[in-house]
């Protein structure tokens, strides 16, 4: 018992000496590491950057097809608060019209980590995202109006399941729920409805399987792979657009390394309104906190501290 108490005190001492270390880590809740998913917003604040995200979207219902190259940046202001910036360059081919290219508009966000529960591998954040009007080329699909989106993101690993179902413990679920409020009700006679966005990612972590449940002896590159299925739907709910839900289902895999990860997913439209055929997306994503732990990989509030 004495040893247990001593070790407990030692653990508390370690935690007290290193208060910021875990807070700066990206995507950890206890034993669980959540990778940065491509379609679903991550449920954690972090110093990270996606560069690039290359997307060939499925052909849309009007026959157009869009190719995007995008980037996302997330920077911690404090260990629990970050800001995000994202933008895409789009190349859109429209039947019977000239091809349109240009930036699709700047999106900024502020995210606050509501909680991280290590024991239950759970976390959540609240965010406010803004897609700014007239910050891209409208002819290429950029909006001429600003949209404000309060967002809730969550993540839950299933490592706390009982030992009787060990093979289910590597599963994890992340999700988003956001409301989109355009600041203009219509543009050139077309309605801009308010909408509900909801998305989920179901992941099965091979690293978790091999380090926490059963070492199957899988070597590189499989030992760092996380197969997943993401899906996201947008449902307008006013201005005559109710019932026009669109979205995609995206099965794929993420390979998570020490300093970066690579993800690739197919894009399958959920209905004819969402398009037809199959698209695809690949993403290279960097963990800035691991690459630059003593400079930009720290919260801005700590940049000038020793």
């Amino acid at each position: 018992m004495h040893r247990v108490i001593c070790r407990g005190l030692a653990a508390v001492t370690v935690a007290a000496l290193l208060p910021s270390a875990e807070a700066m880590a990206h995507g950890f809740a206890g034993d669980r590491f959540f990778p940065a998913t491509i379609l679903t917003d991550d449920p954690f604040v972090a110093d990270e950057m996606s560069l690039p995200t290359v997307t060939l979207n499925p052909t849309q219902s009007d026959g157009s097809r869009e190719f995007d190259v995008g980037t996302d940046l997330s920077m911690l202001i404090t260990p629990k608060l970050d800001f995000t910036l994202s933008n895409d360059w789009a190349h859109t081919r429209i039947p019977g019209m000239s091809t349109q290219t240009g930036l699709t508009g700047l999106t900024t966000g502020t995210q606050y980590q509501l909680f991280i529960n290590a024991e239950h591998e759970a976390m959540a954040l609240a965010a406010l995202d803004v897609t700014w009007g007239n910050t891209g080329r409208v002819a290429a699909g950029a909006p001429a109006f600003t949209t404000i989106s309060p967002t809730f993101d969550f993540g839950k690993g299933f490592g706390d399941l009982p030992d009787s179902v060990p093979w289910l413990r590597p599963f994890a679920l992340t999700g988003n729920l956001s409301l989109n409020f355009p600041t203009e009700t219509e543009t050139n006679g077309s309605p801009n409805p308010n909408s509900l966005f909801y998305g989920f990612a179901i992941e099965y972590s091979i690293p978790y399987l091999q380090s926490q449940v059963r070492d199957l002896g899988l070597g590189p590159p499989f030992n760092r792979m996380i197969p997943l299925v993401e899906f996201a739907l947008t449902s307008p709910f006013n201005r005559g657009q109710t019932g026009t839900t669109t979205g995609t289902v995206q099965p794929g895999v993420i390979w998570a390394g020490q300093y970066f990860q690579v993800g690739a997913e197919m894009m399958i439209p959920t209905n004819s309104l969402s398009g037809h055929g199959i698209g695809g997306v690949v993403q290279l994503h960097f963990y800035l906190d691991d690459l630059f732990p003593n400079s930009i990989g720290r919260p801005i509030s700590k940049w000038f501290q020793q």
Partner: protein, 120 residues
């Protein structure tokens, strides 16, 4: 002048010391989730990064939660990615290993796994 300032700023940001990262458990002996016929004298774990000995720990407990390790976990000075936990003589049963690792750049990771001795 502006260019020089930008270059200096970029150099400050990107000339970080050699990057390190989170220490993930690469493999262990006895292997994670394995069953071994004879009781091991030591649990050995190998991580993906070098460990900070002062702030890295591990415990081994039996099914009742009693500690069965014979001393504190130690990082191998010759191979700082290896963590060893000496064990008391173990009767057949299932044992749980809990580790807390601090990599040399102060990133922490934790983990748990079990192994079984004999028929379990």
């Amino acid at each position: 002048m502006k260019i020089a300032a930008i270059v200096a700023l970029a150099a400050t940001i990107f000339a970080a010391p050699r990057a390190q990262a989170h220490a993930f458990l690469d493999h262990a002996s006895p292997a994670v989730g394995s069953s071994v016929p004879a009781a091991p004298a030591t649990v050995m774990m190998w991580f993906t990064q070098q460990l900070e000995p002062a702030f890295t720990s591990a415990t081994v407990t039996d099914k009742s939660g009693n500690l069965v390790d014979a001393g504190p976990a130690q990082v191998d000075p010759k191979d700082p990615t290896e963590l060893r936990v000496p064990l008391k003589p173990l009767p057949p049963g299932t044992y749980s290993v809990a580790w807390h690792a601090l990599s040399v750049d102060t990133h922490t990771t934790t983990g748990h796994f079990i192994f079984t001795v004999g028929g379990g």
